[in-house]
Amino acid sequence: MNLQLNWIALKTLVRKEILRVTRIWVQTIVPPAITMTLYFIIFGNLIGRRIGTMDGYDYMQYIAPGLIMMSVITNSYGNVVSSFFGAKFGRHIEEMLVSPMSNATIIIGHVAGGVMRGLLVGALVSMIALGFTRLEVEHPLITLSMVVLSSTVFALAGLINSIFARKFDDIAIIPTFVLTPLTYLGGVFYSISLLPAFWQKVSLANPILYMVNAFRFGILGTSDISIAYAYLIVVLFVIGLFSVSLALLNRGVGIRE
């Protein structure tokens, strides 16, 4: 592999993705900021006051890391899905396919774009959260690494979704029927210790639970699950999804006739 060529191609792809996100900021940045502000007002402020504390923290403080992670996940996923499927739909994916850049570079470039948007939105939601509650980052390294890894997992998942997607409906199915339920059931709004034993075990099959809890541990210092286990799961997801994406692109699934 020609490293210099792929490095320039990667920088080009990332630059293109950042330009896309910033050019259509009304679609990419503003909606999550408004949605999360509503979450903070309704769930955190109005309902949260009646709930009291969760694991020893104000309810608003408890849900803030989960809401930040939720916005990161959905935006990382959504960015890659819309960018890659849009390129397929408009056929300008062919610009990349005819070029000598490797399939790994195509994946990394799109994932980097998704992570950038996820982090941008995450930073914005964190600032909004600071308007409602106090957030002291207990473990900065864990917080940062977990948000980047989780964002990578969902950017890769978004890429796989868009590889298989043939029409716009196909890119809405996974977010609606898989991503949203898993996020809501992933411990964003509650501690799984509140659930009956059976549902606690079921919740452990949800990868988002590990991401939300590890991120919450990084900020608040509390978690329902083992942090080492969370890292293991997230890293395995990154490796697994990257390998699947690469295999799909190498075989030309969804992109070559």
Binding site: L5, N6, K11, T12
Partner: protein, 314 residues
């Protein structure tokens, strides 16, 4: 040195359609090569495989000696593609479209900026560089795709019907430009429905029909195979029926002109002698159809009527 070597290339789509039935092609470096065929003949599939937009079923493809199976990245780096259909982000600016393409080929930003200015200027798009692609006219979009394909200065440029739907003035300026870059050393493969385009630009022609190559020879040699040519004569004095000229088939057209069919072995002098004998004055004379077009139709018709191509009913 061969720019392109194709051996026994086969493509069968999942729906069972066999688009390519084991074609062989060789394109010399520096050639201007026409790949002709009716719609659905397999031209775009062949180009798709060469540019790795379509997976092949079997066969070998080499670009300047580099196999697309063993050294795909190097093979791809030699090719510039101008596809049949628009395949650019219409919401992106003209400048970004060519700069991004340069980046995908590993061209560093400062050099990409220089080349973008060079090729956008040569294709008369530099003044429109800040516009989004969708604001361009059809001809400008075609020229943008040529600029994009040239930004990495490929050794082999493949154009799949590059002048489809553009007006004659732009078409002719594109021909001039393509001739120039071919003279500067770029090998060009062209598919087109405008056979006049192939005849005036290309030195070698291959005709593909139903997934098989039915002709592959230098243009001059191919044109020499023409058995018959039809000329349209405009006469000074109008006639009510076609004049009878010994040794020639004639036909009176609705517009009053006369068509004369001439065997390729016959001399035009004999035709004019016959016209003079009848006191017929010719004001002008032109080919009824493009010569290549006649040959093309003849080859395709011959193939359809040959026993080998007879298909079972149903």
């Amino acid at each position: 040195m061969y720019a392109l070597t194709i051996r026994n290339l086969t493509k069968t789509y999942p729906n069972g359609v066999q688009a390519l039935k084991g074609i062989d092609l060789v394109v010399k470096a520096g050639d201007f090569y026409a790949l002709l065929g009716p719609n659905g003949a397999g031209k775009t599939t062949a180009i798709g495989i060469i540019c790795s937009l379509v997976n092949k079923t079997a066969g070998q493809v080499e670009i300047f000696g580099h196999s697309i199976d063993d050294d795909l990245a190097t093979a791809k780096s030699f090719i510039g593609l101008v596809p049949q259909e628009l395949n650019m982000n219409l919401f992106d600016s003209v400048h970004n479209i060519v700069l991004n393409q340069a980046g995908y080929y590993g061209i560093a930003r400062p050099q990409a900026l220089q080349r973008a200015e060079k090729y956008l200027s040569e294709l008369r798009l530099w003044d429109r560089r800040k516009d989004v692609a969708r604001a361009l006219s059809g001809g400008m979009k075609r020229r943008l795709m040529i600029a994009r394909a040239l930004i990495h200065e490929p050794r082999l440029l493949i154009l799949d019907e590059p002048t489809a739907g553009v007006d004659i003035e732009i078409r002719r300026s594109m021909w001039k430009y393509l001739k120039r870059i071919n003279e500067e050393g770029t090998t060009i493969i062209l598919t087109t429905h405008y056979l006049e385009e192939a005849e005036s630009l290309c030195r070698h022609v291959a005709i593909i029909d139903e997934g098989s190559i039915i002709e592959d020879a230098p243009m001059g040699e191919v044109l020499r195979k023409l058995q018959r040519e039809v000329f349209v004569l405009s006469l000074r004095d109008s006639v009510t029926k076609a004049p009878r000229l010994d040794g020639f088939e004639t036909l009176l057209r609705d517009d009053g002109d006369v068509e004369v069919a001439i065997d390729s072995r016959q001399s035009l002098n004999i035709l004019f002698d016959a016209l003079n004998n009848k006191d017929i004055t010719v004001l002008s004379m032109r080919n009824k159809a493009n010569r290549l077009e006649e040959l093309f139709m003849g080859l395709v018709e011959n193939k359809q009527h040959s026993p080998a191509s007879a298909r079972p009913p149903g």
